[in-house]
């Protein structure tokens, strides 16, 4: 019997998800022994035409990482959807929009201006922008164009499963691959990670006070971070209470607060609103002016609470018609 065929693809991503696959270490040998990798542009020489030549559903499963923000990415994921029996959104960006999704706080023109005009390392006095179409002596060339709004994978194609994390923890990848190989799959649309909050398995759990009474919020560089005490109790914006577990609390173990890459648990619709709620209420002050002052110390609430989930939040993007940035 021939081995099941597997594909990997990346859209708007940083390459960290591919790195996570390499991080499987020896386990990758088991995976490679069990499956045929038929498409993985990041690691091997495959072309789009190889995918086009496949029969429908020829791939057993395709793992797609990265947010969808260009017409080329949209075409590719639509094509892969046709050729794959199962599509797994791999990592925060395809699950919730991820870091690229923060572009949704701005317009496309604003994003291009920041990248091609105002960036420190950019010298572009004529403000030349990439063109979708251009002519040169040998003929005509085309480039993909960006969408106004960054999208998560399930906002553009039907997705069977979600592997959360930035990048997904190795343990969860192995579990997912093995479950697919054995055909022991959960209900369609499931997030392949435990459905409990980070705090539940956090090694610092015992030092979390019954009631959080914070006087001030800090960023990690502003204080000497205690290695054992609950990070939230130290005033750091640790989003553990609202974030799904499954990563063995790797950030807290590394003495850094959770930033929420694993996304929300199933009881939450809008991760950022819930995270804001959890953090705001832990402030120990009943005084208007003091509350305003302390909240002002959170420099970028949208970037803090919606760091990985802006495109799939209730708002999806900032309101630009009403004078947003």
């Amino acid at each position: 019997m021939s081995k099941p065929k597997v594909g990997f693809y990346w859209c708007a991503s940083c390459g960290g998800c591919e790195e996570a696959i390499v991080d499987l270490d020896e386990a990758i040998l088991d995976v490679v022994a069990a499956v045929d990798v038929v498409f993985w542009p990041c690691a091997m020489d495959f072309k789009r035409s190889d995918v086009e030549a496949m029969k429908d559903n020829e791939m057993a499963v395709c793992f797609i990482n990265g947010a969808v923000r260009s017409d080329e990415q949209l075409e590719m994921v639509e094509l892969l959807r046709k050729k794959a029996g199962l599509v797994v959104a791999f990592g925060s960006c395809s699950h919730e929009g991820g870091i690229p999704g923060l572009a949704n706080l701005y317009t496309k023109a604003g994003v291009l201006k920041a990248a091609y005009g105002n960036a420190f390392s950019t010298v572009n006095p004529e403000y030349t922008l990439p063109m979708a179409e251009f002519s040169f002596p040998e003929g005509k060339g085309t480039l993909p164009t960006l969408f106004e709004t960054v999208k998560s994978l399930d906002q553009v194609i039907d997705v069977d499963y979600f592997l959360p994390g930035c990048p997904p923890p190795v343990k969860l990848i192995v579990n997912a691959v093995m479950a697919i190989l054995k055909g022991e799959l959960p209900e369609k649309g499931a997030v392949l990670a435990p459905d409990m909050a980070q705090c539940d398995e956090c090694p610092r759990k015992d030092t979390k006070p019954e009631k959080l009474l914070l006087k001030q919020f800090y960023r990690p560089f502003q204080i000497q971070v205690d290695h054992e005490k609950c990070l939230l109790a130290q005033g750091l914006l640790c989003l553990g209470p609202v974030t799904r577990q499954g990563c063995n609390n790797s950030c807290m173990v590394g003495n850094m607060p959770c930033t929420g890459c694993m996304g929300p648990t199933s009881r939450v619709r809008d991760y950022g609103a819930k995270a804001l709620s959890a953090i705001a209420t832990s402030l120990d002050s009943n005084d208007d002016a003091e509350i305003v002052a302390v909240m002002d110390s959170i420099v970028d609430p949208a970037g803090t609470f919606y760091r990985y989930s802006l495109p799939t939040s209730l708002m999806h993007r900032a309101n630009v018609t009403n004078g947003g940035k």
């Binding site: 709620s277 209420t281 708002m315």
Partner: protein, 170 residues
Amino acid sequence: MSDPIRNGSDGRFEPRIVAFFCNWCTYTAADLAGTARMTYAPNARVVRIMCSGRLDPQFIMAAFRQGADGVLIGGCHPGDCHYQEGNYKALRRITLLKKLLSQFGIEPERLRLEWISASEGDRVQKVMNEMTEQVRKLGPLHLEPMKLQHPGAAASLSHVKATPVKEMAL
């Protein structure tokens, strides 16, 4: 601009306001305003909640996303909360949420938190009128509908299958 619901007979913009009133103080005050036959702007749809501290910021986001031009929250005066400190929790959340909303291009003035006790029917009248006027000045909140290629994706984060926001027209 010809939407009859959004524009009164005189062509004036009629804002849509969602008001979340706490059961113990502000809702009772609104009741009092009603029995006292006080008249005030009819623009707010009042939702009764047990405590302003129960107001999940998700509700406010959903209200704006689904067409509210403004959101008004009424709770007990500081120190008077039926549940000790629910109103303080609301105050902390709303303060931070206003900051976040401005990053989202939604004017913080569209969100208002007011303390109104059960006996202050006249204050409900005043606040309702003020809020309506304030939002009218700001104009309609044009949140662009999201065009999502995949039709199943309306509210689609997989883990939200059973949420009431499913019917959102995105």
